[in-house]
């Protein structure tokens, strides 16, 4: 009887100890983290939770990281070097680093785009554009899309009315219109464009900052 109890207790203890060892070993195993990004980004620097750089990776490069909290900072021409936090869990994963240009570069792109867009609007809507002007032209963070707000000439900025928004996109070295000016852009007015991009255009203010 006593021997049976000792045997059962031994089995239970072995299972518990084994489980604890497995969890400890498994959690201390480094995980493969792959970084992917567009060619506009030269490299990405990985920092630990003490803000110390521990690795620098190129596109599609994999690093082994222990479970924990980290940051990554992209570098490249005109790339915003803002730190982004990420966590490594108990499995391998891929992190896609989005292209985010600096505000100064986006402003430059917007200035370059404005002339081309104004020209296209006047050519496409010659009669309407006599009464409208561009009050807000914004290029979004990755430089792949932008939005324009057209307001009636002389509109009272304290009570904006009859303004319309239009999506723009790069075309070669210039920019082109996507769809028609609308009060609100939707996946029905701009087919094939994601609603998250359209929301950015819809959120543009009719009053220039």
């Amino acid at each position: 009887m006593k021997r049976s109890i000792v045997l059962i207790i031994s089995i239970i203890a072995t299972v518990i100890v084994g489980s604890i060892v497995y969890v400890i070993v498994n959690s201390s195993q480094p995980q493969s983290i792959t970084f992917q990004f567009d060619p506009q980004i030269d490299s990405v620097t990985i920092g630990n939770d003490n803000d110390t750089a521990i690795a620098k990776v190129k596109n599609n490069q994999t690093v082994e990281l222990q479970k924990g909290d980290y940051t990554y900072t992209p570098t490249g021409t005109y790339i915003d070097t803002k730190k982004t936090a990420f966590s490594v869990e108990s499995s391998a994963s891929t992190i896609v680093v989005p292209v985010t240009y600096t505000a100064a570069h986006l402003d430059t792109l917007a200035k370059e785009a404005e002339m081309a867009i104004a020209k296209q609007l006047t050519a496409t809507y010659p009669a309407q554009m006599k009464g409208y002007e561009i009050t807000n032209l914004t290029i979004f963070s990755d430089g792949k899309w932008g939005g324009v707000v057209l307001t009636p000439v002389g509109m009272d900025i304290t009570a904006p009315v009859n303004y319309y928004r239009i999506l723009i996109q790069p075309s070669g070295d210039s920019w082109k219109l996507n769809g028609k000016p609308q009060s609100i852009l939707t996946i029905h007015t701009n087919q094939g464009v994601s609603s998250s991009i359209l929301k950015k255009v819809n959120d543009l203010s009719p009053v220039s900052s």
Binding site: Y125, L150, N162, K180, S183, I184, T186, I187
Partner: protein, 211 residues
């Protein structure tokens, strides 16, 4: 005496097995013939009207139909015939109906219809259940409709079916607002947790010079 009892017992056991075999055979027959079908209840007024499903006369208060669209015609002397179709689903656990309340075409029909009010009430009850089912399915497909119509002093948000796509269940959100409050209506849709860009939106009385 003993032999007699034994013989009765044998007969009873035999009878029991025969009944079991018959029950199994019936269950198998219905299992095979009704597999892939759904029970569709028939509720018509007057209750003695003739019901044709896919051109075949059916009797009783229900029929088993295969998944898909089926046409039916309900007719009776002194009443106008009524025809429609039903889209039968074998996945639908709730009851499905063929229902029709025939309209009298002459005084004889009107007199008869007045004499069977319970039969017409039964059809109305089924109509209410079906309408509720349709409403629940619609709300599941377009959850924003549960918030609509929405009215405040600045704007009204409603919805209508998209007539340009009659074969689909797409909807168009309609916004009635003066220009200065259009963005307020859009913000209201965002406040409900939706991205307005995901919808087909129509501003009532908008005169967009660029379109």
């Amino acid at each position: 005496m003993y032999n007699n009892r034994l013989s009765i017992a044998k007969t009873l056991i035999m009878l029991f097995f025969i009944v079991v075999v018959i029950v199994i055979a019936i269950a198998l027959y219905f299992g095979i013939t009704r597999s892939g079908t759904a029970k569709v209840s028939i509720v018509v007024a007057p209750a003695d009207a003739t019901v044709l499903v896919d051109g075949h006369k059916v009797s009783g208060d229900h029929v088993y139909l295969t998944e898909g669209e089926h046409t039916y015609l309900v007719s009776r002397d002194d009443f106008r015939s009524y025809g429609d179709s039903i889209d039968v689903s074998t996945d639908d656990s709730s009851e499905q109906y063929i229902s029709a309340a025939l309209v009298a075409s002459n005084d004889t029909g009107r007199e008869y219809a007045a004499s069977v009010p319970d039969e017409y009430s039964a059809v109305l009850e089924v109509g209410g259940t079906e309408a509720q089912k349709r409403g629940e399915a619609y709300a599941k497909q377009h959850p924003i409709t549960t918030k609509l119509p929405y009215t405040n002093p600045l704007f009204t948000i409603g919805y209508k079916s998209d007539q340009s796509q009659p074969d689909s269940d797409e909807i168009i959100l309609t916004i009635r607002a003066v220009s200065v409050y259009r963005d307020n209506a859009i913000n209201q849709i965002e406040n409900w947790g939706y991205n307005p860009a995901d919808f087909n939106i129509e501003f009532i009385n908008e005169e967009n010079p660029f379109l």
